[in-house]
Symmetry: C2
Subunit: 331 residues, 2 copies
């Protein structure tokens, strides 16, 4: 491969995103100018937030510009450096985008240790998804030992970390996931006390049975109709961390039909974006790395092969077609 | 008056509460047994929470039982005591109920200083409404200097304290109240920077104009359709303290049509009941009393005369017919 390949956003979808919204562009591998680096990407991370960027609706971040390289987290190896912070052979994590080679001035790029953990873990439990899980659980839900925490998208990149951290905090963890295979993985490998299949026609009853003592914390990644079922099971003083509403990104908005529950049960609900909390990252990553090193934190990946697979992989991610962290392997 | 008069709840309304739901009962003035006191009530407090108690829907407190004396806060004077904590002539605040004389064992009854402030202030700025304002503003909204706080029912018993405390904290305070008279009082006497009349057909535009820098905190006493207008004006990281939803107590539920705002703007919303926070009362009352003594806290009362006026006064309160704290004078 002597050329760079990249995907740019070619059009915005009217309804659901499709591979046709992206355009593959070939260009020369960049050469670093003064202060710049070139990274050969090993993995590209696909994450639900990308759906928001593809839209031009007002949100917390500016929309992805048309005709420019799609935004995305990457891990890779420095292949050329005119920046004293980096040398060829260093492994780094950054926001390199949907491309084989990334050129940057090094801002937001960090050297990582790829000897003790797989490089792509810095896109998962030791990266943005892991820190997201850590912040929402510890800073918003703050579970006490013996409390019950519900985690939707329980086996996903974020949810799988939330469930395991909740257990380490002495809480009960109940997962919600799509299909029996994910639910078995949730309880047998991730250590959830129970997992409810959201594809079940009896979801409401099954959630009620699983959450016999009621729910004290909800880590919400999904939203939609099922979220209303979880509200019925809340205990007084429950805390809801709203991390994502993936069911609504290409579907109906998630509505709350009656705010009286906030008063009757004294509920707190708080939305958050991990990028707002950069000062907390070192502590979070340090704790997460400790758990990984001690074998207390497990995770799983869905790895698609080759940059060309990225558009369809994102579409699949948005509809639950991943099992754990969705990655595209580029080398 | 040599007999006690009291109102009991006679029936639960199917829809809106009416005076016919209450029944007046005459009985002998009670005589205290060992450890008991008898209080001659001077004022009865009428508060929105009573609407919830009259219903038998599940809530944070048990419903008001049929045939028993209606619950309510009272201030009065000890007229007979077999309890060492109280002596005749002491002025006290407690939950004496809708009656002229209250018999109790003294639990939840506290002696107050009625020399420096009017006795009924212990049902207003130095009582439950004041502490409610203090908790929601300081513990949930926690305004920083220069931020903007929106207060609905801005001239009511709770809202009037919230607005003034927000100003003392260096924030901008914007009120929402019903009608020009209340709005003028809000800005000219209570010190709100602006007040928007919720009866105006142009409410949304007027709120937008008043909240030119956006809203960082909402102290919500009302709910309903107008609440959705305030959501449109929220800044990132806004905090919403849900204290009451009086517009929904006898009307349609207050719904949130789209939870995406929690994510896009990283909003926190939290419901609270001041009775959950008894340990904070001494600090709150001490701070509020300091403001009252220094003339920094103003309030206003709607006083109805005689116990017989209580049922209609509650109905009026639920529909905005009060101007400031709703009280019934009993002596």
């Amino acid at each position: 491969m002597s050329r760079n390949l990249k995907f740019v956003l070619d059009s915005r979808p009217a309804d659901k995103v499709s591979p046709q919204n992206f355009r593959l562009v070939e260009e020369p591998i960049p050469t670093p100018g003064p202060g710049q680096i070139v990274v050969r990407h090993h993995y590209l991370s696909l994450d639900p937030y990308m759906r928001g960027r593809i839209s031009d609706a007002k949100s917390y971040a500016a929309p992805q510009p048309l005709g420019e390289t799609m935004v995305g987290g990457t891990v890779g190896e420095i292949v050329a450096s005119e920046n004293a912070r980096f040398k060829p052979g260093d492994f780094v994590v950054g926001m390199g985008g949907w491309q084989l080679y990334g050129l940057s001035d090094g801002r937001g790029v960090n050297v990582v240790d790829a000897k003790t953990v797989p490089l792509q873990a810095y896109l998962g439990p030791l990266g943005m998804p892991g820190v997201t899980a850590w912040w929402g659980l510890n800073k918003i839900i703050a579970p006490k030992a013996g409390e019950t925490v519900l985690v939707t998208a329980a086996t996903g990149a974020v949810g799988s970390v939330v469930g395991q951290l909740a257990k380490l905090a002495g809480a009960q963890a109940i997962g919600v996931a799509g299909g029996p295979e994910k639910c078995i993985y949730a309880t047998e490998t991730l250590g959830y006390d129970a997992c409810v299949d959201h594809k079940s026609a009896r979801f409401g009853e099954e959630l009620k049975a699983a959450a016999g003592q009621g729910i004290d914390g909800v880590f919400e990644n999904v939203g939609g109709e099922l979220f209303l079922e979880s509200l019925k099971r809340l205990n007084d003083f429950a805390r809801i961390a709203v991390c994502g509403l993936i069911a609504s990104y290409e579907g109906k908005p998630t509505a709350l039909p009656n705010m009286a529950i906030f008063l009757v049960r004294r509920i707190k609900i708080e939305g958050f974006i991990v990028a707002d909390h950069l000062p907390a990252w070192p502590q979070a990553v340090s704790e997460l790395a400790g758990h990984v090193a001690a074998g207390r934190l497990r995770w799983r990946e869905t790895v698609r092969q080759g940059l060309e697979s990225a558009p369809q992989a994102l579409v699949d991610l948005l509809h639950g077609g991943n099992f754990g962290k969705m990655l595209v392997k580029l080398v």
